[in-house]
Amino acid sequence: MNIYKTILSAISLLFFLLITPVGAQVSDGRPVENFFKASGSPVNPKVPVSWNRYYTNEGLLEIYEQLVAAYPNLVTLESIGKSYDDRDLWLLTVTNRDNKPHHQKPGFWIDGNIHANEIQTAEASVYTAWYLVENYGNNAFITDLLDEKVFYILPVMNPDGRDHYMSQPNTFNTPRSGTMPLDDDGDGIAGEDGFDDLNGDGHITQMRRRNPYGQWRTDPDDPRRMVPAPPGEFGEWELLGWEGIDRDGDGMLNEDPETGRYDHNRDWGWNWQPDYVQRGAYLYPFSLPETRAVRDFVMAHSNIAGSITHHNTGGMLLRGPGAREDARLYLREDVQVYDALGKLGEKIIPGYNYLVLYEDLYTVYGGQIDWFHMMRGIFTFTSEMFSRYYLYNEDPSGGWGWGFNEDFYSFDKYLLFEDAFVPWEDYTHPQFGEIQIGGFKKNYIRVNPGFLLEQELHRLMAFTLFHAHHTPHLEIVELSSSDLGGGLREVIAVIANTRLIPTHAGIDLKKEIERPNLITLDGGEVLAGMIVENRDLNVVKEQTHNPAVLEVNNIPGMGTVTVKWIVKGGRRLSVTVDSAKGGVVSKEL
């Protein structure tokens, strides 16, 4: 089916190009003369995409295939594994494929939708791929990025969950997991008491009941909203929770949903802890097929030097560690890199705060960013997309109130014209009797309203691109030779890393994760090789074994490394720097 789709989209693109009158380009079915370029956005994208709506798994696949068909030299599409429900985990590799193999370029990993209900994170990932290819060749910064770097983009890590969130009745908080049923209430039966979409509208909203002794009363400013009754007074409503029925008779509502309560982001290999410590943990690290597929890909691509994993909500750029006891392993030199990038992020994404996960948010054991950082040495951020800040572009006051904050009501009223709210309607409940059902839809609160989507996708992408830009960039900035007499030459090479991120994070060096950088002199007989620690005072560290291939533990960010060889003979000398995360560069003397 996928091959069929690829062919079909290729044919439609071809057809599209063929029917176009010679000399007249079209965009989105309209003549290109009808458009005027807005700065920073492609005026005539080959793959027109509307960034004010969300795409199903099938809709996303269609975009991937169109990108591959339109930019075959920049995009490849592969499935890196299967989900619990046997859906493909689609990964886009985005780079200029014509200059050098992608594994010889510093790599940048992007993923989205690890949590099922955090759907705009997939669009954030796809927007990045789309923007890169649509601007390649037109914009120098973007062109350099795709010439020098490779992006590995997994827009949806949890496709089962995405599909469930969109196609099944859910709240804006559910599901977080995939679709594996678990016995969440411990009674020996899995998934027997989940939500019930009583009014059949595809959203799980609230249940309330008139009660003269209730705690809530109607907000005089917005009758859809309830506010707590003042102290010493009764209200008129009692809240009964999310739409549902106690189906198993245990006195609890919705406590064992059909999608088990587990969390892909507690299933990673660093400081994993069981469920009683870390809610959401499954059996052991990488016990879920989706995280296992990512592990396999990341471990097979040691060129990945930076990454971001997209989440919602709250407007944050988070770095690790997830647990206080690991703070000592986030070494000073690594934190400096995070701080520089994180502060840039705060500037270019207003409403976002750069935070430390365990310190500023909550403790996470077995989280993805810790595995990326601690066990792979990859500089990694978590984004938390969308925030109440965006309702009125000001820092919100008051608590979240999970759907009851007045800002959400007024925003829905004045900007969405009440599209995000299910009006309260009467319903006869088998256990509660006469109640009302209503409240915010699942596509509100955590997920961007359509008109606020594109701006956040772009700003977050811009931060991501600067992060990727700062993965190591190695240049051989000096290569010189001097005659020592007696047929011996001294060859000196200076290698610069012109970006913030080192070839080896501090944690990488401490735990010996990645191989050293190999700096090789070809041609001539190498009699001695050494790393120059102080060139002026001739402090060197000799490498006696295999001196032609010097093993350099790190080429620091915004720094240089100097090496020296003593060579006999050889006319044409060349130096190659081979760095797992810094790529491969060569120079001839």
Binding site: D187, D250, W272, L283, Y284, P285, M299
Partner: protein
């Protein structure tokens, strides 16, 4: 059995100065005839298949996984009828490649138990308890005993090539004296840290600087300098060690720990099985740890920390009960107590799988009466003294000079304790050890939790209004779950389910209740007020206790 621990870190020590451990070995068969030595992977399989052929009603053999080395992770299930929904004990052996005995004890337990199945009491046991026997959890490593080059090995065949260790792809060791074993190599050298033991010159011990002793030898495992960095081979870095690959206190980045916890086919196989098998209430491991010769001690801080690292006090009491039983069986042959290690299976089974977990080596080198205590506390000396006192032949390879390419100008001698001798008794001793352990496990099984519904009372409040009161008793000595099992999500709790028909209504009481732990020989009482008439069904239990069901007529 502290040896195991040291062995893992051997490779780290090698590159620095010299090793602190004598790594020796042994040919343990008694006369080389079939049946007089430990069984290799194939022979183990044949013994298990033969059991299934002989006792098809009582046993089943399955393969849970295949290792990188192509060896099977086998499971022998023993029990009559439906073995899934009744209390079970997992018996796990061969978790360390150098512990041949553990595998043998697991297999002989199965053989002994099934051989006794014609006895009434054993047959009844097999009707009510399931035994899951895992004889060989480290088959890749264990195979080294049976190979042409014999040495103690812990890692599997899933070679982790360390980019930072240029020697990690090098071949392990070299048999310099060509005796088919890797023993030790001593080099006479004034920079060495080792001396001959004053009481037995065959044994090398580290010179005690604080006593003014001067080292005279360097000591390595038998081998040549390999690779460019001048290290001797460091084979224990090369694969993953089963008993270091679990999630409890996972020793990330340590040799043998693997790329992450539960990364291996072997570890995943048993973890997945036990998570799925809620009926397993106890796990008995034949391995390096020992909480049977002496029970663990309660440590309140460790047991109540956010991440528990100590057993809960109620569970310690069960450990004491089982340890008493073990001491009764073993009498004067108790192996040495030994703590668990980070990332091991024994601790994982309790802390992360929630089962009562017991471990023993089965045997350790007994102390022999000596004129004076050994100031160097040498395990090798203990072995030699015991071997001499008990006429155990050939546990030692005498030191003999060899020509060594890396030390052309120095005296290099090869010799030492034979591989495997420190951790495994000669094979002729195994039958009696296995027999004792079989009886211990049988008695342990009799202590299993058993949930029954008893003392049902009906009280008629009106024509169609009845109060039913029932007691749910745990008749066993074990609680229905460990206290850790109670807080872990994957351990099935005791559930009390009361089912009415459509005409009945429950006025009070719960149709379904997930109950807390019911301690051994303890009772909980529940009552239900029911409007209606006819039959009410009450069912209580968990997979690990069995289920009890009763119908009450109103």
């Amino acid at each position: 059995m502290h040896l195991h621990f040291k062995l893992v870190f051997f490779s780290l020590i090698l590159c620095t100065v010299t090793t602190s451990l004598p790594l020796y070995g042994n040919i343990l068969s008694d006369n080389g005839l079939p049946g007089n030595d430990y069984s290799d992977h194939q022979q183990t399989g044949e013994r298990l298949r033969s059991l299934v052929d002989t006792y098809p009603e009582l046993s089943a053999l399955t393969t849970l996984a295949t290792t990188q080395g192509g060896k099977q992770i086998r499971l022998l299930t023993i029990g009559a009828g439906n073995t899934d929904i009744r209390p079970a004990i997992a018996v796990v052996g061969g978790i360390s490649g150098n512990h041949l005995l553990g595998s043998e004890l697991a297999v002989q337990f199965a053989e002994n138990l099934l051989a006794m199945s014609d006895q009434n009491r054993i047959r009844q046991l097999l009707d009510s308890v399931t035994f899951y026997v895992f004889p060989e959890m480290s088959p890749d490593a264990r195979g080294q005993y049976f190979s042409s080059l014999r040495y103690e090995r812990l890692y599997n065949n899933n070679i982790i090539v360390s980019h930072r260790d240029p020697d990690s792809g090098a071949p392990p060791f070299m048999d310099l004296n060509q005796d088919g074993m890797i023993t030790m190599m001593r080099i006479k050298d004034p920079t060495g840290l080792w001396i001959k033991h004053p009481d037995d010159e065959r044994i090398m011990v580290m010179a005690r600087k604080e006593k003014g002793e001067q080292g005279k030898y360097r000591l390595y495992r038998e081998g040549v300098r390999a690779g460019k960095q001048g290290c001797f081979n460091a084979p224990d870095k090369r694969g993953v060690v089963f008993d270091r690959n679990f999630t409890f206190k996972y020793p990330a980045f340590q040799p043998g720990a693997g790329p992450h916890a539960v990364s291996e086919a072997e570890t995943r196989a048993i973890a997945d099985f036990l998570f799925q098998s809620g009926n397993v209430f106890a796990v008995i491991t034949f391995g390096e740890a020992n909480n049977l010769s002496e029970p663990l001690k309660y440590n309140e801080a460790a047991a109540s920390a956010r991440i528990h690292t100590g057993w809960k006090n109620d569970d310690i009491k069960i450990n004491e009960m089982v340890s008493n039983l073990y001491q009764d069986h073993l009498e004067n042959n108790l192996p040495a107590p030994a703590a668990g290690q980070d990332g091991d299976f024994f601790q994982w089974a309790y802390f992360h799988c929630g089962r009562f977990s017991f471990s023993t080596q089965g045997w350790t080198v007994p102390e022999t009466d000596a004129e004076r205590p050994d100031p160097y506390k040498s395990e090798a000396l203990r072995l030699l003294r015991w071997a001499e006192a008990n006429d155990i032949p050939e546990v030692f390879v005498p030191w003999e000079p060899v020509d060594h390419p890396d030390f052309p100008d120095q005296l290099v001698e090869v010799g030492g304790i034979k591989p495997f001798a420190l951790n495994n008794p000669p094979y002729h001793m195994v039958d009696s050890i296995a027999s004792i352990h079989t009886n211990f496990i049988i008695d342990l099984a009799a202590m299993r939790p058993v949930v029954c519904i008893v003392n049902i009372e009906k009280e008629k409040l009106d024509r169609d209004l009845h109060r039913i009161t029932a007691q749910i008793i745990n008749k066993g000595s074990f609680p229905t779950a460990s206290r850790t099992g109670e807080i872990l999500r994957w351990k099935q709790k005791t559930v009390i389910r009361t089912t009415l028909d459509d005409t009945q209504q429950m006025i009070s009481g719960k149709p379904v209740e997930v109950a807390g732990v019911i301690d051994g020989r303890s009772v909980i009482t529940r009552s239900w007020l029911i409007h209606g008439s006819g039959n009410v069904n009450i069912r209580a239990g968990a997979e690990s206790t069995g289920f009890s069901e009763t119908t009450v007529s109103l």
